[in-house]
Subunit: 265 residues, 2 copies
């Protein structure tokens, strides 16, 4: 393949793949709606607004030609992007906010680890280095700059099961405290994504380093992508994720439309 | 090139192009911030909220580990996506809202018409069919399913100049009333985008069909993309736009991070 053919295959071929369906576009986003559950912190802390909509007009006296809404929410509502500035470990890093992260970082490869059975048996299931190494034996090494995605089918639960709150807090799966430092150092991941309401496990405030996924990922200028869905529609390797957050000035994250590109075999 | 090579060049080659910089990612998004001007309707109509942020915590007593914000705005705030359901002409079309539009439609080719000189001389400048045909003589025919983008450098203005309000309303450039029906029928565009606060010209409420861009584009299940910036960084043809709105249930549009992919020649 000459350089010229490669260049033409690149972007023109890419778009042709989208149009013909050779490249499938999979929506990894949960729908933003008023009943989407909001993460709740201990009462002494500041709280995220729930997602709320207010109709401005609907082809009526408030606006005869048009239908539109106002809305309000937290930056970390629904399927969303966590920027490094979100966590204290990432607060002084360069290009760490939604408006300053280089936009090419919003397009990256994905590795999907199937943890469905483990999470079904144990809502506090923690994804370990050994799990990922076993996955690599079957599917190949995680390439640099990949999203590490934890599939649990958690997004298929009803809202009560999704939040899975008990008296001692939430019980939802996430990465083992050792996983993210290893995945950053040894595999150079671009970020960690999951189907639960946050990237860290529900009990992660009790870990030796509280919220270790947030701490280590954001402290190393990597990203988070919680509340994903449709991870069952992705191959273990080879999908490309498009994850651009809203360009909020100095934003710590934002609800995001996450799309995956999957090449049909 | 064999089918296998083409397939591998498709998505793997695409990602390699992003990583190596052969495919440049250009951010076409204006920053969401509290001073971003809000479109104002006559007082008898419902109004859009301005963009507003409220800090939840910033590594302090409200949340020692993290920084995050709540925010509120209209669906049509900042650089945003107009869905067909936004307009009465598109209200009964299938898959016409932010949560139902097929996601592959959020990736499409762009044609950029340079109207900088014309708009500098006349803030009410209207892009005509003849203008686009003259552009096609130089840059080639608009391919089906392209965004038709009107570059005016309007996004470089200060907020007063950007809104350009007078006693008789806003004076900002947009498409001539004849343009969109022609562009849909004869060129099968996927949508129309511009740098001004709306896709229609500032004086478009006085046109024979009020707001003809909204009426004809959305009535034909096409999209809008106002408040773009950095159109000067795109070639006349060949860029690919990524335009996914938030997945708001029954949403008429949403603030959107718009990215363009440009292949270096
Ligand atoms: Mn978050
Ligand atoms: Mn709009």
């Amino acid at each position: 393949m000459t350089a010229e053919t490669a260049a033409s295959a690149g972007l023109a071929g890419f778009l042709e793949g989208i149009v013909t369906g050779r490249i499938r576009v999979v929506d990894l986003t949960m729908t933003l709606q008023p009943d989407f559950p909001t993460i709740v912190l201990p009462p002494e802390f500041g709280q995220s607004w729930p997602f709320r909509m207010e109709e401005i007009s609907r082809y009526d006296h408030r606006g005869p030609f048009c239908y539109w809404n106002n809305f309000a929410c937290g930056e970390h509502t629904g399927t969303h992007f966590d920027a490094p500035i979100h966590w204290i470990s990432g607060k002084d890093l360069p290009q760490n906010a939604t408006d300053t992260i280089p936009p090419e970082k919003f397009i990256a490869h994905a590795c999907v680890i199937d943890c469905v059975d483990a999470a079904a048996g144990d809502p506090d299931y923690l994804l370990t280095i050994a799990d990922v190494e076993a996955w690599e034996q079957r599917h190949g090494r995680i390439p640099p700059r990949s999203w590490l995605l934890m599939r649990t089918d958690w997004s298929r639960r009803d809202w009560t099961g999704y939040m899975n709150m008990a008296e001692d807090g939430a019980h939802t799966p996430g990465p083992h405290p050792d996983l993210i430092p290893w995945a950053v150092e040894e595999r150079d991941i671009i970020g960690f994504g999951s189907e639960a309401v946050g990237t860290d496990a529900g009990q992660a405030q009790h870990f030796p380093v509280p919220y270790p996924c947030h701490y280590h990922a954001h402290g190393n200028n990597r990203f988070g992508l919680p509340s994903l869905t449709n991870l069952d529609k992705l191959p273990p390797q080879g999908a490309v994720l498009i994850t651009p957050p809203l360009k909020i000035r100095d934003g710590s994250g934002s609800p995001t439309r996450v799309l995956a590109l999957v090449e049909e075999g």
